[in-house]
């Protein structure tokens, strides 16, 4: 996927990652798709915890690896998905991803690199890099203008 915009931000703890997630959640809405990429233990689910709280849902976010999709309810549905267990594009297709991607809520998708070709170009992609045991670098990539505003908010908030 090609992106025109880039932005990076560092996090030095789980708490900081959740805070970044909060700001993301406060600045996205229905129809937005957040793609998360990062290795085991990078903090994808922690970032999602922040996003979902930022969207106004106070639930604990559990890893969706086993169930593939977990639904949370804020003012609209939030679909938290995980492609970790999926190894072939055929099996991803069978998730009926489009129903969620072009549906009535927000989608946050972990291990999105496994299904690159399924996601629209106006998604927000966040790659989480391990810098040390606790420090992470979050690389944002996007095309849509509304995510530029989100990035400005992130710069202001942190």
């Amino acid at each position: 996927m090609e992106f025109n915009n880039e932005f990076s931000i560092n996090s030095n703890s789980e708490e900081a990652t959740i805070k970044i997630g909060n700001v993301i959640g406060e600045n996205i809405s229905i129809g937005d798709i957040v793609l998360l990429i990062g290795d085991l233990g990078a903090g994808k689910t922690k970032l999602t915890q922040g996003i979902i709280n930022g969207l106004g849902c106070s639930d604990f976010v559990r890893s969706p690896t086993f169930v593939l999709i977990t639904e949370y309810i804020a003012d609209f549905p939030i679909y938290h998905m995980d492609l970790y267990r999926l190894d072939t594009s055929e099996s991803i297709d069978r998730l009926f991803l489009d129903e969620y991607l072009y549906g009535d809520g927000v989608c946050v998708i972990e291990w999105a690199d496994k299904g690159d070709e399924f996601f629209p170009h106006d998604s927000l992609m966040i790659k989480i890099e391990n810098i040390s045991e606790t420090a992470r670098k979050l690389n944002f990539n996007f095309n849509r203008k509304s995510f530029k505003d989100l990035v400005e908010k992130l710069k202001g908030a942190l």
Binding site: T65, L68, S91, L95
Partner: protein, 342 residues
Amino acid sequence: MNILGIETSCDDTAISIVKDGQSIKSNIIASQVHMHEKYGGIIPEIASREHFLTIIPTINESLYESGLTHKEIDCIAVTNGPGLAGSLLVGVNAAKGLGLAWDKPVMPINHLEGHIYSGWLDNKNPDKEVGFPLICLIASGGHTEMVLMKNHLTYEIIGKTRDDAAGEAFDKTARVLRLGFPGGPEIQKEAESANGNLDPFPRPEIKDSLDFSLSGLKTAVVNRAIKENIYPHTDFNAPNNEIVSEYSFAFQEAIVDTLIRNISRALKNFEAKGVLLGGGVAANSRLREKMAQNLDIPLIAPKPYLCTDNGAMIASAAYYRIKQYGTSPTFDMDVVPNLKLH
């Protein structure tokens, strides 16, 4: 009373017939890993289509094995949640269809309640042999919950995972160590040949709560594997057998200790007569062994094949529900993917 139990909440199509909640007449499980080999080796992430293909043959096989005809079945019990919506739908639809065709009542059952009632299978009787209340630990790839069972069918969730499930921690650790799926049996096997000379992994704890947080343990394994250059995987950094064994042992000890610690803390808060294990992780022999050593009250640990998903536990739970509340014609029931245990 013969009850046909249907369990399709995840990726096994499991059908059993159980007499009077305790005596297993047949227990058939069509594992999709195996099914997919026949269809060209697709990995079975999305299970509903495979359930759809296998459910009727599996029901027929279960009937055949039991030696009963459908006329001798008194009720059809089916998991209606929690689980994957598409998978649950196949089981619930089949149950409704059979109920209509055979003119039998259909009883929806919570999957977690099923895991608890696996303790009653195989002609066990925890309520008579041990008594209530029981503290139940249900730990699998998708669940890690501690339940206070005050009496038949009466539950209170007293602890749950806030992030990863216990079985998921096994699976992901196994993946780091390049072991197969599911990770639990592989790690258990590798751990057996360990000397136990690796620094221990953390036993993550949430202050003032019986909840679990297991993602930190997974991250600790990943961090050490990165530091010792066996992860991320390359063509040249596969760990030798000894390292795999030592990691497996250290991880298994950490997760087993974490589960046991929360059970012990729960036993301080709640007066229980026994501890009951359920779910795939409950098949882990180290957990069973260490748990038995640590408890001074009875441990109810169903045989490993009854810990993993099966239809018998669903039939057993239905028997006790019928005994207490009778049956009612419930053809309007729906699947509830995030069904809670009450």
